[in-house]
């Protein structure tokens, strides 16, 4: 629409009052349908089934997921807007948290919060004349395998992330090695692992090795979900990862800014993902400093 000149600016917003409005609960209950008769509700159960199948098919589990939960929490501790800003998480905290739906513990789950996010898209030409430093969309890809999760054979991957990632990398003309940081849709820790695996950052079942040793943390070689993400900052669907990527590339992230401040590489290229349903759809976006 922007290219065709139908409109000049597009605002993408998301907001909810999940803490008091009950809308999130309603949405999750509606996802459930007749499966409620078996005590199966919402997203946690679906992702728990996927995570258990993942544990059956390749090497994964809490030993991998704890690195994601704890790494993102360290970023949240640098972000005054994050819900978990003042709460550290030790390995003991991770393991001692209650199981919600096994194999997923409390800190494998994203947050529930009130709030909203918005981003504005326009042409690169127009963006250069605006107040904020521009960030360019270098590549994008979508793929929606879209079976009911109950009939899906992609619980342990490859999910839609594989084709979405390939398309985005091809459009951007880059590879995994060119990415400076990632902002990955993280409804659950397992989603982050599976998405990164399908994008090709590591081989199937190599997640534990890849995540351990602070890879995604401040000071790490592949900073990931640098606001704390939906696990530790706040849940705004795809706009948590996207807004953080844009702000990082603009250099507007304060104490958590990528670069010398956090002993990480100053970012030129940040990869983002969004994900829908129970792994039923995936969108990959590659942003580049304007």
């Amino acid at each position: 629409m922007l290219e065709a000149g139908i409109c000049k600016y597009v605002v993408i917003t998301y907001g909810h009052s999940a803490l008091w409005g009950g809308g999130m609960y309603q949405m999750l209950l509606q996802l459930t349908g007749n499966e409620a008769a078996f005590g199966h509700f919402g997203a946690v159960g679906g992702y728990a089934l996927a995570a258990m199948r993942g544990m059956h098919e390749f090497s994964t589990g809490p030993e991998t997921w704890k690195h994601i939960a704890m790494g993102q929490r360290k970023w949240a501790n640098l972000n005054p807007a994050a819900m978990m800003h003042k709460k550290a998480m030790s390995e003991e905290d991770y393991y001692n948290a209650p199981m919600v739906v096994e194999p997923l513990r409390l800190f494998d789950n994203c947050l529930i919060n009130d709030g909203g996010r918005a981003i504005i898209i326009t042409t690169a030409e127009r963006a250069r004349d605006l107040k904020q430093p521009p960030v360019l969309i270098a590549g994008m890809g979508h793929h929606n395998p879209s079976n009911e999760i109950g009939q899906a054979k992609y619980m342990a991957g490859p999910t839609g992330a594989k084709k979405a990632g390939e398309a985005a990398f091809q459009m951007a003309g880059i590879g995994v090695g060119d990415v400076d940081a990632c902002q990955i849709y993280d409804c659950f820790t397992y989603t982050v692992e599976l998405t990164m695996q399908d994008y090709g950052f590591f081989g199937r079942g190599e997640g534990e090795d890849w995540f351990k040793g602070g890879t995604i943390e401040p000071g790490g070689r592949m900073p990931l979900n640098t606001s704390g993400g939906q696990l530790s900052e706040a849940y705004y669907m795809g706009l948590t990862p996207m807004s953080e990527a844009v702000m990082q590339l603009r250099g507007q992230c304060g104490d958590r800014q990528l670069g010398p401040k956090t002993n990480t590489k100053e970012p030129e290229i940040i990869l983002c993902s969004d994900n829908g349903g129970i792994l039923q759809s995936n969108a990959c976006y590659i942003f580049r400093k304007g």
């Binding site: 409620a36 008769a37 996927a50 258990m52 199981m99 194999p103 009939q151």
Partner: protein, 135 residues
Amino acid sequence: MSYDQLTPTPDADSKPFWDACRNHQLMFQKCAECGDVRWPPSILCPQCHCRDAEWIESVGKGTVYSYAIYHQAFHPAFAAKLPYVVAIVQLDEGPMILTNIIGCPHESLACEMPVQVAWDDVSEECSLPKFLPIL
């Protein structure tokens, strides 16, 4: 919401399935064209879009594709059942259905374990197909 309101609400497509459940029969549509046995019920074959299908009765045996153990009650009706097991079972005829595994110690649960149907008559109107391990 009481548990009664959580029991399945059959629609035109799924009514034959839930009616058969009351007689403790597990019935699925088999495509007349490609032979795919499908779930959930629908007017078209999801594989080949053929409209013709016959209802066949499953033997009620299959394997666990995946499972998850609920430790929190998302509805008060399930508080007393915690922890309980939700699973996806792939029946020998092909379809995968969401169900509960009952009668199995949680430490013995595993993907690919063989199971067979066990009927739970939750009310006069509703019987749910649940699954037991085949020992």
